[in-house]
């Protein structure tokens, strides 16, 4: 997996205020035939982004020039369904570095953390407020400080602490990799195997 560092991010947001956005919407199965991790951003939200005839759907937020940025502000239960990591690759490849929601599906959350895409959980109330604010002012900026675990809406000063597993936080701050970590424990794993077979 790529070694990506994350520390502080200040950015405008792209809003997607729908609940239960599943990984089939993020990247439909017919685009999963690739054998590398690159290029999935082109088909991010493919069936919402393009019309049946392949033109850009002007109603969809990614095609609205008023909205740009590296933070995707989603709705509740984002990333449900299939375990396809391609969903995270597509979001990252498109240029997002963080996704904000009140609730993420478990596998999506793990996949995001394993690829340097920061999933930030905030309360439903704050998420609603954020969506309302972005609708009024697309140039609204947020600041994410991973070290301090704070998420701040810069124009209003609303600032909350978000949770992240301390191990994963360390990995993201330093650009460390799970597999290097596990490989360093091969002796321990082998001795676990030897003892297990005796049970």
């Amino acid at each position: 997996m790529p070694k990506v560092k994350f520390d502080i991010l200040e950015s405008t947001c792209i809003p997607l205020p729908f609940e239960n956005v599943d990984t089939d919407q993020i990247i439909p199965a017919r685009f999963l035939s690739a054998t590398t991790r690159q290029g999935f951003g082109d088909n991010l939200f493919r069936d919402w982004r393009y019309t049946k005839t392949g033109e850009k759907n002007s109603d969809f937020v990614l095609n609205n020039p008023n909205y740009t940025g590296k933070v995707l502000v989603a709705g509740k239960n984002f990333g449900s369904g299939s375990s396809r990591e391609h969903a995270v690759w597509a979001i990252f490849d498109y240029g997002f570095r963080a996704v904000v929601s009140s609730f993420f599906a478990d596998i999506f959350m793990n996949n995001a953390l394993n690829n340097g895409l920061l999933p930030i959980v905030i309360s439903e109330e704050l998420l609603k407020k954020l969506h309302d604010l972005i609708a009024k002012d697309p140039s609204l900026k947020v600041k994410i400080d991973l070290e301090k675990q704070t998420f701040t809406i810069l124009s209003t000063g609303d600032s909350v602490k978000f949770n992240i597993n301390p191990y994963k936080k360390e990995c993201l701050l330093k650009g460390l990799d799970d597999i290097d970590f596990l490989l360093s424990m091969k002796n321990l794993i082998t001795s676990y195997e030897n003892n297990k077979s005796l049970v």
Binding site: M1, F18, E19, K52, R84, P166, Y167, D178
Partner: protein, 474 residues
């Protein structure tokens, strides 16, 4: 204080090391691999210059991205062919057993694992596929993982994983005629929503669960992920052991008797504490159908679509967007609504019992003219059994063509797509927008409900075809 749930017992005995305030290093007994979520993981090994740590613990199959017709010919789509070829190359290079296309043991990963005896009680099992939860039916901790995690398991046979919370779902009471395990799990999901079990691992208990066959239990565990759970498991019992005894072989288990004695201890202690405890009455469950675009949007087949979302919010944009996509309105009844396609198959309902159930209703009848049916066995073994039981002939005389095994229209990676705007009553697991093809409209249901719809061409209560004695009406 020392009481443990079954989940705790299996999990704790597989922890190689706990990281302070971090995830556990969890040892994996069985790793299933398929063509779609593995190539990038194998590439990762190559880039690191490392090999597969324990190739004997990984089993591979090609299932997601393969055609269900003319499997003896080269795959027409170049990208799909390339992906399937990569899997063969990677398996050969690293010494992984592969049941590839045209292998007599090929099939959907969650169908072949159990039927070939690779899934055994007490194991930890992972696969780059969210429906890995299926294997929980044997009393295993089985869950879906992403490709980075596939690479972890290939490299070290371990995975870094935070321990989920535990939920117990108890189902007591007796099931009515025409109600299947698919209806049970769709009912539970409709009650607790598509995210109601996120963060949890579920243990299913109760007399109604105990009364189910292994294949029916697999259907329940399979769809655990559709309510957000990492997985679901059922403690092994005599039904489990009987299933395992009847398998032609169990690779690696030389002495099944002593193994069974060991597996008998795999149960939650009576006073074990669960983080959440839910109870349902099997007697309240009717044949189910979905009306929206996530599996939580389900109802009894004779109900009306609710007027508002789960939170009572009538104007919820997500709720209305979903109904709009389906071409439905709040308050609408679905019985009698014309449909276009029927799909029987998938890791949820692609086992021999499902094809027998469907056959009960179509026997001596004819497929409705307006219906295109995709009938896809879950594996070569299932297909073989259909032949030996005369089911292929039975289906043919009712106007149904039986395809070759694969995931097929469940996720529509291959050519088995439901066209734009068309309605499909489907025995698969997801009714997401476009899941069965761009613009497709999926109504999830049991094999019995799918069969009833295939015969009438409309959404039909399967109980109309079933008499009180559970015999199919002539």
């Amino acid at each position: 204080m020392n009481s443990k749930t079954l989940f705790d017992k299996i999990w704790d005995s597989h922890v190689v090391r706990s990281i302070d305030a971090g995830p556990d290093v969890l040892y994996i007994d069985r790793h299933y691999v398929h063509e779609v979520t593995s190539p990038q993981a194998f590439n990762g090994l190559k880039e690191r210059g490392i090999t597969v740590f324990r190739p004997g613990k990984t089993i591979a199959t090609a299932d997601h991205n393969i055609p269900t017709k003319d499997q003896h010919l080269p795959i027409r789509d170049q990208l799909s062919r390339n992906q399937v070829e990569r899997l063969s190359e990677n398996c050969q290079k690293y010494g992984i057993e592969l049941f590839g296309l045209n292998d007599p043991k090929n099939g959907i990963v969650h169908v072949i694992g159990p039927e070939l005896g690779y899934t055994l009680p007490g194991m930890t099992i992972v696969c780059g596929d969210s429906h890995t939860s299926t294997h929980g039916a044997f009393g295993t901790i089985a869950f879906g993982i992403g490709t980075s995690e596939v690479e972890m398991v290939l490299a070290t046979q371990c995975i870094l994983q935070p321990k989920p919370k535990k939920m117990r779902i108890t189902l007591d009471g007796e099931l009515h005629k025409g109600v299947t395990s698919k209806d049970i799990i769709m009912y539970i999901i409709s009650e607790i929503s598509a995210s109601g079990a996120t963060g949890y691992f579920v243990e299913y208990c109760g007399s109604a669960i105990r009364s189910l066959t292994m294949e029916s239990r697999m259907t329940i565990c399979n769809m655990s992920i559709e309510m957000g759970a990492r997985g679901g498991l059922i403690a092994p019992d005599e039904t489990t052991f009987e299933y395992l005894r009847n398998l032609p072989s169990i690779p690696g288990a030389d002495d099944i008797k002593s193994s069974i004695n060991k597996w008998k201890n795999l149960r939650s202690d009576t006073d074990a504490i669960f983080d959440r405890d839910l109870k349902f009455d099997a007697g309240l469950i009717k044949p189910m159908i979905t009306y929206g675009t996530n599996p939580g949007m389900g109802m009894s087949i004779d109900d009306s679509i609710p007027m508002s979302d789960d939170n009572g919010n009538k104007a919820s944009s997500s709720f209305l967007k979903s109904l709009d996509y389906m071409g439905f309105k709040p308050g609408m009844k679905l019985l009698g609504h014309p449909i276009d396609y029927v799909f029987l198959g998938s890791c949820t309902n692609g086992r021999i019992e499902d094809f027998r159930a469907f056959a009960k209703i179509i026997k001596g009848r004819k497929k409705a003219n307006n219906i295109t049916a995709l009938i896809v066995p879950g594996s070569k073994k299932v297909e073989e059994q259909m032949v030996s039981e005369g089911l292929i002939e039975l289906y043919k005389s009712a106007g149904f063509e039986v395809r070759q095994p694969g995931c097929s229209s469940c996720l529509a990676m291959n050519e088995d797509k439901i066209p734009q705007g068309k309605y499909a009553v489907s025995t698969s697991n997801r009714n997401f927008e476009g899941r069965q093809g761009p613009g497709s409209r999926t109504l999830l249901a049991s094999p019995l409900t799918a069969a009833a719809a295939a015969i009438t061409g409309r959404i039909t209560d399967p109980r109309e075809f079933i008499t009180e004695e559970n015999k199919v009406k002539k």
